[in-house]
């Protein structure tokens, strides 16, 4: 019965993809940015659904299982402040530039902003490398969910494969419009079912009072921060949600807005949505420490699904597992579509076929890349064995460290391509070094002090941007006029690389 409910849910998502395919206009702009027609509610749901992934449900509950309520402060309330602030300062401005100059990808913007193909290419490579762990979170999350909810009857690799195939089907059918619709539906599903999961498990555990009393008696350390979270760690974790400003899939969704003011609802409602999703995740993870003890390492990521199976078997388990699937797929689709858009526009079209590439060929290229990237990610998911939360933190840290690029591009006229090169190279070097240094050390902080590597990478990236820019020749006035209207005279298009 559980499997039937999940299968029914996946078919429903496929049906949404099929409907959106009927409205597909056949153009590259429609496939890649939904012809920039998305309204406020769908934008909120797609941005939020895209951002919340297996990290927020399986990863958060798994981390809270071992580290207690402090996980909410580390990632949820810090995101409630930082993410909408990033939307406010970056989103409408990038949307405006995207609409004016016809950008479809993040790389196009940065390449044009500093007039450098090399910056675009370096950024493409780094963004793809950072996105792979993020994709892995989703693919692994789908496998874990299906395997745990069926008590191992369905192996993880089958769950991962089924989810990849469904996402491939609706992304290639409907492009970004199909993705946005599916995301909206799935975001409503996982927010609603998350609340139901929370209520059902609490009720079947004897109520909130009984649950907290048991925790206070058996695992009191999980109800405070204590030694499980260090103050410096909380302070520097705040930098991680900056990553939202450099996610290629977020940038892509920003471009779909109908107008600048479409962002207003997403900015205001985002903190509330974060609380709605993370409160059940973190609380159920903490409760799970008392009810499902003994999960160690990456296995802790399964605590939420184990709690569902323990308290709500049958149809309800199927529905609740569908909620987890919804959260996972609503991110996976956008990430893969963003990657395929970048590959088509920034590599195939920019370096190979230029204007000879018809809309049909662009869409075909995008679809093939979606299939290819899923194949690679799926194979990686079979061999990588790391906690979902840890994979997420490493991926987000890299993206967050690239934030000085966006800040400089939008707000600093004196920034130059040399500064951009220096910043990207610094992030690539430090991120690689830290990942190799800390791969086998869960909870790594610098010298065990609580200082997260993201803080060092962010500071070094910003310093590299400033130093590289000030040590190189100032940008040409024509290019500045293009991005800072009113400061100079001409808005004539420039050739990329000019």
């Amino acid at each position: 019965m559980t499997l039937a409910v999940i299968a029914g849910y996946l078919l429903l998502v496929l049906a949404i993809g099929a409907v959106s395919h009927r409205l597909f206009r056949g153009t590259g702009e429609d496939y890649f940015v939904a012809t920039r027609t998305i309204g406020p509610f769908v934008l909120l749901m797609t941005l939020f659904g895209t951002h919340m992934t297996a990290f927020s449900l399986l990863g958060a509950s798994g981390e809270a299982y071992g580290r207690g309520i402090g996980v909410f402060a580390l990632m949820a309330s810090s995101s409630a402040l930082v993410v909408p602030a990033v939307f406010f300062f970056f989103g409408p401005r990038l949307w405006s530039l995207g609409k004016r100059f016809g950008y479809l990808t993040q790389v196009q913007f940065f390449r044009d902003r500093w007039g450098s193909d090399g910056v675009g290419l370096a950024l493409f490579a780094v963004l793809v490398a950072l996105l792979v762990p993020y994709l892995l979170i989703g693919v692994k999350g789908g496998g874990i969910t299906l395997s745990q909810i069926t008590d191992g009857a369905v192996p993880e690799w089958v769950g991962s494969l089924a989810m990849c195939l469904v996402v491939i089907a609706y992304v290639t059918a409907g492009g970004l419009r199909g993705t946005a619709w599916a995301n909206t539906f799935q975001t409503l599903v996982f927010m609603g079912l998350g609340a139901i999961t929370f209520a059902v498990i609490l009720e079947r555990s004897g109520g909130l009072g009984a649950v907290m009393a048991r925790l206070a008696a058996e695992r009191p350390e999980l109800l405070v921060r204590g030694d499980l979270v260090r103050p410096l760690e909380l302070l520097t974790y705040t930098a991680i949600p900056l990553s939202v400003g450099m996610f290629p899939h977020m940038f892509m969704h920003w471009l779909t807005a109908r107008r600048a003011e479409t962002f207003r609802l997403a900015i205001v409602a985002y903190p509330v949505c974060v609380a709605i999703v993370w409160l059940p995740s973190v609380t159920l993870g903490v409760i799970g420490a008392a009810q499902v003890p003994g999960l160690a390492g990456p296995a802790a990521s399964t605590v939420l699904v184990r709690m569902i199976a323990l308290h709500a078997p049958g149809i309800l388990a199927g529905l609740l597992a569908a909620g987890v699937f919804a959260a996972v797929m609503s991110s996976l689709d956008s990430q893969v579509l963003a990657l395929s858009t970048m590959f088509t526009q920034d590599i195939v079209r920019h370096y190979g076929l230029h204007d000879r590439m018809s809309d049909r060929l662009q869409v075909l290229s995008g679809r093939l890349f979606v299939v290819g990237i899923f194949a690679v990610t799926y194979l990686l998911s079979l061999v990588v064995d790391r906690s979902i939360f840890r994979l997420g933190v490493w991926s987000f840290s890299g993206f967050a460290a690239l934030t000085p690029l966006a800040v400089a591009a939008l707000f600093w006229r004196r920034s130059t391509r040399a500064g951009a090169y220096a910043s990207v190279a610094t992030v690539a070097t430090l991120w690689t070094w830290y990942v190799f240094r800390a791969w086998n050390e869960p909870g790594y902080t610098l010298g065990g002090s609580g200082l997260m590597p993201v803080a060092v990478m962010l500071a070094a990236s910003a310093a590299a941007m400033v130093a590289g820019s000030l040590l190189s020749a100032p940008p040409e006035p024509r290019r500045l006029a293009r991005f800072f209207p009113g400061t100079t005279k001409s808005l004539e298009p420039l050739e990329p690389g000019a």
Binding site: G70, A76, S77, S78, A80, R93
Partner: protein, 73 residues
């Protein structure tokens, strides 16, 4: 308008500092049935939503809407 904008940017900075709730670090009291450290950060989310509402109301980059030919304005 400029003053409101500066006040809202200051509120953002204040929230950043208030996120570090050191006095509640080892406080195990329950409030509304939940640990006080968790309730504080839920309230923090609500406060962040209020500041964001202020930002879109009084510090919105309206020039971007004007770029769109002033539609709906």
């Amino acid at each position: 308008m400029k003053l409101r904008r500066r006040a809202l940017y200051a509120a953002l900075a204040a929230l950043f500092l208030l996120h570090n709730d050191l006095p509640l670090w080892n406080d195990a009291r329950l409030v509304l049935g939940l640990p006080v450290g968790l309730v504080y950060h839920l309230a923090f989310c609500a406060a962040a939503a209020l500041v964001m509402a202020g930002l879109v109301a009084w510090a919105w980059p309206s020039r971007l809407d004007d770029d769109e030919g002033g539609r709906r304005r």
